[in-house]
């Protein structure tokens, strides 16, 4: 097994394949290709080649028990996210990017205490309803 510290940072194309694997779970090259090609045109052989390289790098694991090889991400999403977030540039501009964030949640994370309070509020609401 590869040393986690030595696992290379995935390229953008590799990250896309990892995203599919994290989203859909272990999948064949054909499955991955069908998901990718829904967003952008992609050749099956390109995806196959990429995934073979990723297996060599240790980014994905290959299960060769069945006729169609089944791939899965070797690291959980959170691990890779932390790896990517460690990038200096990412950190430098994360704050600036967050001010442009438009979405359901604020850019700033809630603290543990706040999360606990949120949970409590939801529970109390539930009890009130009853």
């Amino acid at each position: 097994m590869t040393n986690p510290n030595e696992l290379p940072r995935p390229t953008d194309a590799e990250l896309e394949i990892l995203t599919v694997l994290w989203s859909r779970g272990p999948a064949t090259v054909r499955d991955v290709h069908s998901v990718i090609s829904r967003r952008r045109p992609a050749h099956y052989t390109t995806v196959l080649k990429l995934m073979q390289i990723m297996a060599d790098k240790g980014l994905v694991k290959r299960d060769e028990k069945q006729r169609a090889h089944i791939y899965s991400a070797s690291r959980p999403r959170e691990w890779t996210q932390r790896q990517l977030a460690g990038d200096l540039l990412e950190r430098a501009f994360a704050g600036s990017a967050s001010s442009l964030l438009v979405g359901a949640l604020a850019a700033r994370k809630a603290s543990a205490a706040e999360l606990a309070e949120l949970r409590k509020m939801l529970d109390e609401y539930e009890e009130d309803k009853r």
């Binding site: 967003r39 990517l84 949640l105």
Partner: protein, 749 residues
């Protein structure tokens, strides 16, 4: 240096002042929004969001209008804007008191621009990063969710096609883009939430798209970057963000009334994000608690936490205070300095205030004196600059004189004028000290004008015009030359006319040039130093040309023709043609003959000068007429020099000319006829005719001729040697020819 210039510009000052004004304008807008939010506490979040956005948008508008007013109105609008806050503190101050110029405020402008650029650079990098999230680490969401999204988009009335993607980089659901919007769901959110909850989140994001919140957020970023220094902007920005989320939450509840499910979905998302990246826990979270409390129908949350509200209020009061001080201080200072003594005396009758007018008068005088000294300094600087220009000008003139020897008279004239202007400027500068201030002012003004004019002279426009004219003239002259050759008298007359026109034009230009110089001198020069007449100057210039420059090569006919010419324009024309006739390749670039001729003069002056200029010496004369010898036998101790020419046109082959110094005068002289194989005829030349011109004339008639001094001690009395003739027959024939031409040849010894 450029920054200094820019600082002095009206724009910099207007920007600086507008920035100072914005301190209170921003505070005022924030206060207005606070009041509006307080009054509209029961209003919808949509209304409150609009109010906050309007306030935010009003900021650049207020700033822009202020800048425009300051730029357009200048003093008056500044005064009116400045007086308003000042009145609060001192109603006694009259509105008519003009605000003193606040130059240091202009320095705010570059600082502000630097800050804005920095902010924008970061925001741009952030935007690039966000936009990259559209493509990086994403995959298409499952088909069933795409279909659900299309149905929901219809319900929320979003018309543009929306793409739903799962992202491994996004930690929270978010919208990117407006025209081609993308909804990013964090990986696992679609699987980890119930279908109902996912729908609620999607409605929230679709509401953002319909309300164009991404665009608003970009605009907000720009405005925040523009007024980064003002807390009011950040506070209003926070209000906009908060109310934006409330408004979208309201849209969700309108479509999916189960608030608890939605609140739970938000909480779950927040929790999963918290788990996703184990970063240090933020000290205070976003506004999620407030939102959930609001969704669950608890008491309306305090829109702004009280501690933050008081801090904000403090900051705003501080900013407004600074603004008022900035506005009022220069005005108060100017009031203290410039208020008329009578007003001050009327205020109070204490001895201190009575003394004030006198003090002020002294201050005023000191200030004036300082200004005056500064003006003198500036004038001196401009004089120095003018002198520099003059020097450069004369250097240029020197250069062009070498290049265009035929126009030495013009150049010399202008050079002389410039030199005189320089002298005059020096005199004026010298006489400045010790005169009265009024005199100084007058002198300075004159100097300034003179400097300006000298500058104009130096700007080369006239030079260029002259050059153009000269070129035209040269062309016309060439045409004339050709026409002459063709003997086409009619066309020649036309060309002559054309030439005359060009010449007149040139004359006018020269006139305007010299007039400019004259007026400049008239202004710069003290009246007691009269300037030499231009006419004599130009006369001497032509005289010099005739008797010095081309004395050795002009023919007798040409000389007579030149002396018959009356106007300077015609003389110029003559000189131009004189050179044109000798140009080996007319119209083909520079006149090689002329260049070589002036080079020889320069060489002679440099190498043969003794008590007389080099060109006047025997060696100089021979050098100028026949060029460098092919060989020189130099015996400096005797002293004796023997020059050998293998071939001299018009003189013969293997000519040897001996120069010695029998009288020990320190100057080598031609003491014997050039040694050659044959005999010479001597032709005496009257003093008024230059030997060179006679020699040339003889050469033109086919005689081998060379100018030759009669006596070593009287170089002005010259003769011309004609020869050598190798045999008696040709010698006798030459004598007959010379006599027929009106000379009286004598056999040379």
């Amino acid at each position: 240096m450029t920054l200094d210039y820019w600082i002095a510009s009206p724009l910099a000052l207007a920007l600086g002042r507008a920035l100072a004004h914005f301190l209170w304008q921003g505070a005022l807008l924030a206060a207005a929004l606070r009041v509006a939010l307080f009054l509209g506490a029961e209003r919808s979040s949509r209304w409150r969001h609009r109010a906050a956005t309007a306030c935010l948008l009003a900021m650049p508008v207020a700033f822009g209008v202020t800048v425009a007013l300051l730029l357009a109105g200048g003093g008056s609008s500044v005064a009116s804007l400045t007086v308003a806050p000042r009145m609060v503190f001192d109603p006694a101050i009259s509105q008519d008191t003009p605000a003193a110029p606040v130059d240091w405020l202009a320095w705010l402008a570059p600082l502000w621009i630097a800050g804005v650029i920095l902010f924008y650079a970061f925001r741009l990098a952030g935007w690039v990063r966000v936009d990259r999230m559209r493509r990086r680490g994403v995959c298409a969401a499952p088909v069933e969710w795409q279909q659900r999204l299309r149905a929901l988009a219809g319900a929320v009335r979003v018309s543009q096609p929306v793409v739903l993607l799962e992202s491994c980089l996004a930690t929270v659901p978010q919208v990117i883009g407006y025209w081609r919007p993308v909804i990013l769901m964090p990986l696992g959110a679609l699987a980890g939430l119930s279908a109902e909850q996912v729908e609620a989140i999607l409605i929230h994001e679709l509401a953002h798209i319909r309300r164009a919140d991404y665009l608003v957020s970009l605009a907000q970023s720009l405005i925040e970057g523009l007024f980064f220094f003002h807390p009011a902007v950040w506070w209003i920005g926070a209000v906009v963000r908060a109310e934006r989320e409330y408004a979208c939450d309201d849209d969700v509840i309108a479509l999916r009334p189960n608030a608890r499910t939605y609140a739970a979905a938000l909480t779950t998302l927040e929790q999963s994000r918290w788990l996703a990246i184990q970063a240090a826990a933020a000290a205070n979270g976003g506004n999620l608690i407030g939102r959930v409390r609001r969704l669950l129908g608890e008491s309306a949350p305090a829109r702004v936490p009280s501690t933050r509200a008081s801090a904000l209020a403090g900051a705003l009061v501080l900013v407004a205070g600074v603004a008022i001080v900035l506005m009022a201080w220069p005005a108060a200072r100017s009031f203290a300095q410039a208020a008329p003594p009578a007003e001050a005396a009327a205020d109070k009758q204490s001895p201190a205030t009575e003394a004030e007018p006198a003090v002020r008068n002294i201050e005023e005088l000191e200030k004036r004196l300082a200004n005056k000294q500064k003006e003198i300094q500036e004038a001196e600087q401009s004089v120095a600059k003018a002198q520099e220009l003059l020097q450069r000008n004369s250097a240029q003139l020197d250069l062009s004189m070498q290049n265009a020897g035929g126009h030495t008279h013009e150049m010399a004239q202008v050079e002389e004028q410039l030199r005189q202007a320089e002298d005059a400027l020096k005199q004026v500068k010298g006489s400045q000290v010790g005169r009265s201030q009024e005199m100084l002012q007058q002198q300075e003004r004159a100097l300034q004008q003179a400097a300006n004019q000298v500058q104009e002279l130096a700007n080369g426009k006239l030079d260029e015009a002259l050059r153009t004219q000269q070129q035209r003239l040269a062309r016309a002259d060439m045409a004339l030359h050709q026409a002459w050759a063709a003997n086409g008298e009619k066309s020649m007359a036309d060309i002559e006319k054309q030439l005359q026109q060009a010449r007149n034009q040139l004359e006018r230009l020269s006139e305007s040039w010299s007039q400019q110089g004259d007026s400049e001198l008239a202004q710069a020069q003290p009246p007691e130093a009269p300037r030499p007449q231009t006419a004599t100057e130009s006369e001497s210039v032509y005289q010099k040309w005739l008797n010095e420059d081309i004395a050795y090569i002009i023919t007798a006919e040409e000389r007579r023709a030149f002396l018959a010419v009356k106007t300077d324009a015609d003389r110029d024309q003559f000189i131009e043609r004189f050179w044109r006739r000798r140009d080996p390749a007319p119209g083909n670039g520079a006149n090689v003959f002329k260049q070589e001729y002036y080079r020889r003069i320069a060489y002679a002056n440099q190498h043969f000068a003794s008590s007389v200029p080099g060109w006047k010496t025997d060696r100089g004369r021979i050098y100028i007429i026949y060029g460098p010898p092919d060989e020189i036998d130099d015996h400096p101790n005797v002293p004796r020099q023997l020059w050998r020419y293998t071939q001299v046109s018009g003189l013969g082959d293997d000519v040897e000319i001996e120069f010695t110094d029998p009288g020990k005068t320190g100057e080598l002289r031609m003491t014997a006829p050039p040694a050659s194989h044959g005999s010479y005829w001597q032709v005496m030349v009257s003093v008024s005719d230059a030997a060179g011109s006679v020699a040339r004339s003889l050469q033109a008639q086919g005689f081998p001729a060379i100018p030759y001094p009669v006596r070593a001690d009287r170089p002005s009395l010259t003769q011309v040697l004609v020869g050598p003739y190798p045999d008696e027959a040709s010698f006798a024939k030459a004598k007959a020819a010379l006599e027929a031409a009106g000379f009286h040849p004598v056999r040379a010894q």
